[in-house]
Point group: C2
Chain length 376, copies 2
């Protein structure tokens, strides 16, 4: 029988010229190296990719989602399987998002009170009440290695007074979450909200840290605000978060965003970008995104990315993948999604190596110089 | 540089109690064992499955389709890639169907003359003329290891006079195909037509063999006629086909059909069943087909097929795969299609072993006793 590690995070190297850091998060089901990218498996599968392909691509941890898994397959099915790891045949760490973001974006919200959020399921319209306590229970059934507290995620357009009130409630919910959380081998992370208001962000950070969690996440980022506003919050809050625990930036982002956020001291990331772009005919490369559907790739015999060592790049041409995408053949979505996930995971591995060898800012500069954000 | 094998087919074992036989077809790109099942890769991909997964599942040869590949990606793209093998990263044998079946079923046929068939593409409506000569040229560009002559495939309802006339034309087209076929390392197979009329089937067989091909196929089977009619033609024509060459039954069928046709002396088979059923939530098992979408599998922790050793069955439950199918997750289509292809290929391997050990009819009887055609 495994026992829970005594320390949830080990800091192994700090960059002397920036806030970047390299470390390791230790969970019941094994450790993962940070900075880490977590491929998103919302409904118990990282879209189009099998678990053995995820391992091959270098994934050490993936994401699940309490909201989606509660709706389908539901708790009974997850209980029958003995949790999400066995259900989806992924024996390595899983982090579950609490579903806060989904309740306030995807579902039709009906009523928000101190007790919780009443909403209609995006799937069948059924009315559901999510309380902080239920969301902890869901994540216990899922059996994730890292659980997140249930938070309110206000939209980018929300005004100061709304965000302030929302923040008070998120803090209250965080306390209730911690109180009922019992699963021994599961870490619980708090979430910092506060929108684009720096005072509220700092207040949220202080009050969340005061409650005390195994790690901390910056939430409510990349929900519709400008890129400058994102960067401002990330650069201000990252370095102010506790040094001895993992820092997780939720739902961000592009390769350039990840480099910026690592520089600001973040350790963990998740984003649907690799698989979402993969399913719409777009590949991430060292030179920028290429839309392989475009006619200029029709007879292009080169791989998606010349410098990539993934299965898709070692075997298939842009010409072939374009043909698959045009014919709506599933293998096209597969090869693009797999390559994109491999690309993000390789980026993180190289970032870790550069921090360890004290060359992170040089690595970042080199990557940025080569990466054309407007390439098609 | 490889050289073409001197013999296109080697007969290695004949069952003493039936017409079943075991052998090997020898092509420029390697041999494959018969009886062989060829997974169908119509548009240059076996739907949802990667080449390395096909190898793992035991595929030794796959099918392509001249009609589909001519329409997309087209000859220019295939030429630029240096043929279909390199285009789709499959270095093993490929057989291409001529597209006769597709022209007369999928496309909108405009005019049929001795010269060829004028039709509108099912993709963009463009008017195309397929002549026997063009279809040979297409297959030369594709570079398949086994090419098929262009034939007319009359519908099951066609009357004697129509089928008789059609047969004359198919024989004429076969002669023209052979005349222009030049690719050294590509075998060319003739196709026997004649519908449900046994006299015409025998006439077609004789006249096609008289022309002389590397192998012979029974076409126009399973195009809408009853199961009894299919079996009658298969059992009558199979044993009458040349013993020294490969016998290919086109587009058939179910596991029970394959056993019947092997008993009748056929060596090669193709069918979209494994991947088509896979994409609609159905798995083939030793006990029959199961529709894993059904509610009774919601919490079923057993694999698709208890006796199967494939990646899907060794790792995932019916409960999980049902969840994937319900959520329209691509991994569901993948696991079901992969399992089904593995199932068909394993059936053929076991059939070959049983013929070699002189126990084919016992094997067939045992399989049939266990297989419930009505299972859900």
């Amino acid at each position: 029988m495994k026992t829970a590690p005594s320390k949830s995070f080990e800091l192994l190297a700090s960059d002397s010229k920036s806030n970047a850091r390299m470390g390791r998060v230790c969970t019941f089901r094994g450790n993962f190296d940070t900075p880490a990218f977590m491929p998103v498996g919302t409904q118990g599968t990282v879209k189009t990719i099998s678990p053995r392909e995820l391992e091959e691509a270098g994934a050490q941890i993936i994401l699940g989602n309490a909201y989606h898994l509660y709706i389908r397959p539901g708790l009974d099915v997850l209980k029958a399987a003995g949790g999400l790891h066995r259900f989806m045949a992924w024996p390595h760490p899983i982090l579950t998002d609490s579903g806060g973001f989904q309740v306030f974006s995807l579902a039709k919200l009906r009523k928000l009170t101190e007790e919780g959020a009443v909403f209609n399921s995006h799937f069948d319209g059924r009315e559901i009440l999510f309380t902080p306590e239920l969301v902890i229970e869901i994540q216990e059934v899922i059996g994730s290695d890292i659980a997140m507290v249930f938070d309110e995620c206000p939209p980018a357009a929300a005004d100061f007074n709304y965000v302030k009130k929302s923040l008070d409630m998120t803090v209250l919910w965080a306390k209730r979450s911690k109180k009922v959380h019992q699963l021994q081998n599961q870490q619980l992370f708090g979430i910092i909200q506060g929108g684009k208001f720096m005072d509220l962000r700092k207040e949220s950070l202080e009050r969340t840290v005061e409650i005390g969690f195994d790690g901390y996440a910056l939430g409510g980022v990349s929900v519709g605000e400008s890129h400058d506003e994102i960067e401002k919050v990330v650069r201000a809050i990252g370095p102010a978060m506790p040094k001895g625990q993992a820092r997780y930036l939720m739902g961000v982002g592009t390769p350039l965003d990840l480099l910026m956020a690592v520089e600001a001291g973040f350790d963990m990331f998740d984003c649907v970008n690799p698989t979402r772009y993969g399913r719409t005919g777009t590949a991430f490369t060292r030179r920028g995104k290429i839309v392989v559907r475009n006619g200029n790739y029709a007879e292009d015999q080169s791989p998606l990315d010349e410098s990539c060592g993934c299965y898709a790049c070692k075997n298939f041409s842009r010409s072939y993948i374009r043909h698959l995408v045009n014919c709506k053949e599933i293998l096209g979505d597969r090869l693009l999604s797999y390559h994109n996930v491999y690309f993000f995971l390789t980026l993180m591995r190289e970032i870790r190596e550069s921090i360890q060898s004290g060359t992170f800012l040089e690595y970042k500069k080199r990557f940025e110089a080569q990466y054309d954000n407007e390439l098609r």
